[in-house]
Symmetry: C2
Subunit: 478 residues, 2 copies
């Protein structure tokens, strides 16, 4: 298996695990045994956290940043991996960083997948004529120019597919009409559906969009081809049409679809962007805050992950603005090419493998910047106890969720034994808009984004400045 | 002004008034003075209403009907006025009625508008290239084949448009980015926007879709051209794109759009469908339940107004099934061509003008068949008092809302002095899906539709069978 496939399999297992995490309203401190000096040290940050948050929330820094962010989204829109538009967006953020007086901004080159969607159309031919809204999945091959016209077989699960004879699937279009349980449970039908269908001889694969709620909205996302099967076209359709096809099949109708898709795929260069406020005592030690700047090619990537990118960008900018220098380096990373499979993060890991021991803590926001609630933390009990104590500074933004995989890009580094966290927020509707044309500025609430930014900057400052490192029991695996 | 324009102006004013109605949890009976015999008469219907509702809810009639309705929606999908598909759908319902043993089903011919949407596309040319999702408005003319490319001017209200010089609008595309207040308040920008823009020399008119919630969903609907201005292309765009264009304009950008639209418009024949269970004592007196069978050309017209159509259809079918003959005739009407402007209802009124005095009560369900709550009633205080007393039989479905315009089609007849009502239901999300691809079976909940149907059949039976007519103080205006 090639490294990309390994990555994607890993990614898929991560998402499944994310799904099983437990939310704890306040961390169960009965397992903690923090010494009184540490508790005192943490409490001493109350004033500075309030100063940072006040600057962002009430003194115009947050609002000015949100306005710049809004203009950024409207100027660039969607920023897919491998495009010139993404590189222009990266340059824009670099310039904005410099305009804010930070000179320590660098980039690291990444080989970025560049998949380009072409013409896409599906129509139901039988039992009646109907247009079917469609969105191709990332890396999908196209159809022949005349399209693929074939009978459709609708299934509710891989088990149902497996139970069918190959002769029932050969030459047909498999449609996965799988009810949304959770993103972690259901996304496998998007990521692996085409390969599993191809193994049984299918000529194309369609999946019910991975979302809990639809207003006839198709949602794209990554899929991958197994090395040993034919690459067949893979696309998502809406809940409404998947259910329609399923009901027609249940009524005994023969269903024929015509699918036309085109696409191209190559590899170009992109860049991770690294913005540092260097540590005054231990510049070699870093606390990382991050989000990804790339998006899918629909909507504006406002929520996924514009919000996470901008609040992470603001953390060093706000510290610089306030002339605050933490003990350790505070580093913001704007990951590139997350959507095709954590490609930017993979490159960073490879390049910085020998420095992992110096990453004190790593954070990412990639599941929304709605009303902030706290952090989802991976690490030892001791690490969680320390973070729980820090969160008391931010009450009511003081919830601690336990997880082993706190983010998307950063899971690669957390998996090596580095403690980390993602932003916990009121993201119940996140997957309504995710990977669709609806992921635009309209989804974001300025006050919530500013509140996320204020919390994110202040909490990362405390971690970067604390006298003690975040404890880790796990060794660094290299 | 031609009669169509009169109609549409009337319709528009009706919608504005609907918007101001008052919901009353239980009718204020301090204004009522029902005699004890009437109260006793009404109370005596408790058993029969429970029998009707039990048959529909618990003995399979409701579920079987919902399954037939589901198959109907999947077979025909959207049913726009003037199409062969709508006529086939009407034939299907006539056959289904006869299969249920009712022979008294007739149709009345209507001249039906037949507007057909062609190719529709909008792209933003400046300040950057972006596709803009679009849906043309009913009766819109097309653009020249090469499209219209022009500068866009975004306004928030008619007032803002009026304040501009004609020279600022001439040759440009007007975009109404008007926040949704309520359907009644905001729909005027869809129905009259093109004419008002054309008066100032605009070459096309776009409106932010009339909905409180968007997931990048364009919503169509009727619009009309004033007689004395140029007919310019009129279409709806999404909230997201309307807001994007507005923000770009606010940033000082020049915005150029290219609009391509085609359409055709003629008049064909359609039919209102009338299904009677004849009254045993006063067959000339009628109680009407109704919904419209036509829809816009997107989605499945499941909610607007498949649900209202099917629950009205089931009322006489259920009575026939239970061998219940009310004193007065119970008539279900499946209106045709409601969407282009109450065209079927207008034809019915014209044909039956002399019989209006015999319409005891007229009901329509055209605002959703979600969880039923009661009735929205137009008529005299005495009429409302009687209906409020009847609603006690259906507690907790016993809310009475006061209105002067209780429905869409039936407003024409109510306006003549006939008391009437529409179905009150939990339709908070109705306009999320309205006139869009999202109006499909996925929006409907079977149990809720069955509960609506049970209530609708039973309450209309009581009204049709009561010893006394529904009082009216208004004269019949002819």
């Amino acid at each position: 298996m090639d490294s990309k496939l390994t990555m994607l399999l890993f990614f898929s297992s991560v998402i499944n695990i994310i799904n099983t995490r437990v939310i704890i309203t306040r961390y169960d401190e009965s397992v903690c045994n923090l010494d009184s000096q540490t508790v005192k040290d943490i409490a001493s940050y109350k004033n500075v956290t309030q100063r940072i948050m006040d600057e962002i929330r009430n003194k115009g820094l947050g609002q000015r940043t949100f306005e710049q962010f809004s203009a950024f989204l409207d100027k660039f829109g969607a920023r897919p991996s491998g495009t010139k538009n993404l590189e222009n967006a990266i340059d824009h953020m670099i310039n904005l960083t410099r305009e804010n007086g930070i000179t320590d901004v660098t980039t690291e080159e990444v080989d970025a997948p560049h998949w380009v969607r072409g013409h896409e159309a599906i129509s139901m031919i039988l039992p009646r004529q109907k247009n079917i809204a469609v969105i191709g999945l990332g890396t999908s091959v196209g159809t022949p120019i005349e399209g693929i016209t074939a009978e459709a077989v609708i299934v509710s699960s891989f088990q149902e597919l497996d139970q069918k004879l190959d002769s029932d699937i050969k030459g047909k279009i498999v449609v996965y009409d799988v009810p949304f349980i959770s993103y972690g449970d259901t996304v496998q039908y998007r990521s692996q559906g085409a390969s599993k269908a191809a193994k049984k001889g299918a000529v194309a694969s369609l999946v019910r969009s991975i979302t809990p709620f639809s207003m006839y909205s198709p949602h794209t996302g990554a899929q991958y081809y197994d090395g040993n099967v034919s690459k067949i076209p893979a696309a998502a359709i809406t809940h409404e049409d998947a259910d329609l096809l399923h009901r027609l099949q249940d009524q005994g109708e023969k269903i024929f679809l015509k699918i036309e898709m085109s696409s191209s795929f190559d590899t170009t260069k992109s860049r991770n962007t690294i913005i540092d406020v260097k540590g005054k005592d231990n510049p070699e030690k870093v606390v990382i805050v991050s989000g990804h700047i790339d998006s899918w090619d629909v909507g504006q990537g406002a929520m996924d992950d514009g919000g996470g990118m901008i609040i992470s960008w603001l953390a060093p900018v706000a510290l610089h603005h306030l002339n605050l220098k933490p003990r350790r380096t505070l580093r913001a990373i704007l990951w590139t090419a997350e959507e095709p499979g954590l490609v930017g993060a993979q490159a960073y890991l490879k390049k910085h493998m020998s420095e992992l021991k110096n990453i004190d803590f790593i954070m990412e926001s990639d599941e929304g910047t709605f009303k902030p609630r706290g952090l989802s933390v991976a690490g030892s009990t001791e690490a969680r106890c320390l973070i729980a104590e820090i969160l008391k500074l931010f009450s009511p933004i003081d919830k601690l969720e336990e997880t082993d995989y706190p983010g998307s890009d950063i899971t690669l580094i957390v998996d090596k034994g580095v403690p980390g966290a993602s932003l916990l927020n009121d993201n119940e509707r996140y997957y309504w808009f995710h990977h669709s044309e609806a992921d635009t500025l309209n989804v974001l609430n300025m006050t919530d984004v500013i509140d996320c930014a204020a919390f994110w900057a202040a909490v990362s400052y405390v971690i970067a400045d604390m006298p003690t490192d975040i404890p880790r029991v796990s060794p660094i695996y290299t």
